[in-house]
């Protein structure tokens, strides 16, 4: 489903250059559950952003579902994001003044989905996230765990195949963190390809496949048959 070939990403900071990613090669099959671990600054977020088409590599090729993305224009990349990729951020990025329902609805609103279809999809998502009774709460009225669940609801409402989560539990206490991870894993079991960036070793171990990053390169790529991931 995903193939990275010799991906390079360099940031210029002042006079110096920072190689955030160097010569990264990676294949991810549909339905996989990966965790990305590594020290701060090792390029985890950069990798995730490139996978999510939020950032462009300086070199190499990224194939998403067979489509070469390097040559795609902004419009086409936005379309791929809209239809195939969901994001979960550490700091939720909910829109203030939009309640939980409206935040979840936002991607469909931007995509121009008809109100009736929107309502049905959002109702389903609220139901499965157990947020139905919080539907009309503003983000400021929700706990961290609830906010992240709303954000996850927003990321899956368009039914993407790929879910990218950058330290989704970074701002949460252990209990709500575990709940959020359980939710993500459930989505993975239903078929979504899941990639979680995390600092939390215990959490990272739960994935089937672990990427260990160091200095912008994938140092280790190990598969585990981990019963934890199977709940």
């Amino acid at each position: 489903m995903i193939e990275l070939r010799a991906i390079d990403r360099t940031f210029r900071v002042g006079d110096s250059e920072v190689h955030a990613l160097r010569d990264v090669n990676l294949r991810i099959a549909r339905g996989e559950y990966l965790s990305v671990m590594g020290p701060s600054g090792s390029g985890k977020s950069t990798l995730l952003n490139i996978l999510g088409l939020l950032d462009r590599p300086d070199g190499g090729e990224y194939l998403l579902g067979g489509t070469a993305t390097a040559a795609l224009g902004e419009e086409a990349r936005a379309r791929l994001r809209r239809e195939h990729i969901g994001f979960v951020f550490q700091s939720y990025h909910l829109v203030p003044r939009l309640n939980a329902r409206e935040n979840i609805e936002l991607p469909m609103l931007l995509a121009g989905v008809a109100p009736r279809a929107r309502k049905q999809a959002v109702d389903e998502v609220l139901e499965r996230l157990g947020l139905t009774d919080r539907a009309h709460h503003q983000p400021s009225q929700l706990s961290g765990g609830q906010r992240q669940r709303v954000a996850i609801g927003r990321s899956i409402v368009m039914k993407p195949e790929l879910l990218l989560a950058d330290e989704p539990t970074g701002n949460l206490d252990t209990r709500s963190g575990t709940e959020v991870v359980a939710l993500l894993e459930e989505l993975n079991r239903e078929g979504i390809t899941l990639l979680i960036v995390t600092h939390d070793v215990a959490l990272g171990r739960r994935a089937q496949r672990h990427l260990g990053m160091r200095d912008g390169a994938i140092g280790t790529d190990t598969l585990t048959e981990n019963p934890g991931a199977r709940g």
Binding site: L54, R79, R81, F87, R97, L110, G112
Partner: protein, 402 residues
């Protein structure tokens, strides 16, 4: 994105930035209202002047001494006559110029008017019987000046209503003898109302036969002569003929000016219209100022909402859609401002009409449309830069990395 959703989302954003939205709304509406009010003032002034002019009648031609120095059509303010227009001149003109069917000469001066022990300064207008119908002056009581040969004086007078009240109180002036300097006149009629004369209150004037006025002021010169063009005759041709005849009478010197109110009307109309446009245009500058405010506040908004813009992009909104969102924001505020400002402008114009009923204040449709279009165009144009900036934001950076 559906139009209804775009509207809903934009309204939400505007409500979230209540102060900013309100400021934009107010600035746009003030701009629009200012344009409309000033145009209403200009149109009111124009209408007022035009009404005064049109009362003169399109078939009236005015002659006065002096050559008009420009071809602009306006009478010279300080024309020095090479030679005066006299009653004998008019006798010849009356005989020879076929296109004229009535002539009213004018001598105007000031003199003390007294009745018994009461006296006051009055405008004395020396003219004839034809003057009254030509100037649409009605007689309230009594009669107008009698039809006389122009060169014959007569001790009769018509006085304005104000003069009658001030000199006679509640009594009628008809039949009374009044004194102008050393001459006595018998009042034969009282004028109705103010009269209509441009800038002059005829209710404070006394009318006497032109020859009597010449004697009174010891002059042969006529101040103005009004000619009425015969129905069916060509006004321009008659003007040319009058001028030619007078030039011949004055030994070939073209030393009088003949104008028709039509020419004056169109000149004044042009000037006042230009003036209205000019002040409307000056007021439109306030809309440009509003536009600049739109730009600055939107730039602020883009800066503050950077993370949100990044999010929208991560959720699949292309740059063009982000731009549309920001333009919609500016457009919506401007549209609301236009509505509010138009309401305020019309209300102000109605208020002015109530305060000054004699001036026909009104906001023309063209001004309303122009102000609305200009306000919208200015807001959208100035919103373009911030909207583009938002559209061009890199999603990763926007999401607030560092």
């Amino acid at each position: 994105m559906r139009a209804a959703d775009l509207l809903g989302f934009t309204l939400l954003v505007l409500r979230r930035q209540r102060f900013r939205s309100l400021m934009l709304l107010v600035s746009v509406s003030i701009g629009v209202a200012a344009v409309l009010l000033l145009v209403a003032l200009g149109e009111g002034a124009r209408g007022y002047v035009m009404r005064e002019f049109e009362f003169i009648g399109k078939d009236i031609v005015v002659m006065f001494p002096g050559r008009k120095s420009t071809t602009g059509g306006l009478p010279p303010v300080t024309g020095v006559a090479a030679r005066e227009i006299t009653l004998p001149d008019l006798a010849v003109v009356a005989r020879t110029v076929r296109g004229v069917d009535a002539i009213a000469p004018l001598v105007i001066g000031n003199a003390e008017l007294s009745f018994g022990s009461r006296a006051r300064e009055a405008v004395v207008i020396g003219s004839n019987a034809d003057f009254f119908p030509m100037r649409h002056l009605d007689i309230a009581r009594g009669q107008a000046l009698p039809p006389l040969d122009l060169t014959v004086g007569s001790p009769v007078a018509v006085i304005g209503a104000t003069l009658e009240r001030e000199l006679f109180g509640t009594r009628s002036a008809i039949g009374a003898w009044v004194r102008l300097r050393d001459y006595r006149f018998r009042v034969v009629g009282v004028l109705q109302g103010r009269g209509d004369s441009f800038g002059m209150d005829l209710s404070e004037a006394i009318f006497v036969p032109v020859a009597s006025a010449q004697t009174l002021f010891d002059t042969q010169a006529l101040f103005r002569v009004l000619f009425r063009v015969r129905a069916g005759a060509d006004v321009e041709a008659t003007k040319r003929e009058l001028l030619a005849r007078m030039t011949a009478l004055h030994d070939g010197n073209e030393d009088v000016t003949v104008v028709s109110p039509d020419a004056m009307i169109s000149t004044f109309d042009g000037i006042l219209r230009a003036l209205t446009l000019a002040i409307g245009g000056i007021a439109a500058i306030s809309l440009v100022v509003a536009g600049i405010l739109v730009m600055n506040l939107m730039l602020m908004s883009v800066r503050q909402r950077t993370a949100e813009i990044g999010l929208l992009k991560a959720l699949g909104a292309p740059g063009a859609q982000v731009r549309t969102l920001f333009l919609a924001e500016a457009g919506l505020v401007a549209a609301a401002g236009v509505l509010l400002g138009t309401g305020a402008g019309y209300a102000g114009s109605v208020l002015l009409s109530l305060l000054y009923p004699e001036v026909p204040f009104q906001v023309p449709l063209w001004a309303t449309l122009a102000a609305a279009l200009f306000a919208l165009a200015s807001a959208l144009l100035f919103a373009w830069l911030p909207a583009n900036r938002a559209a061009a934001l890199e999603p990763v950076l926007a999401l607030g990395r560092r």
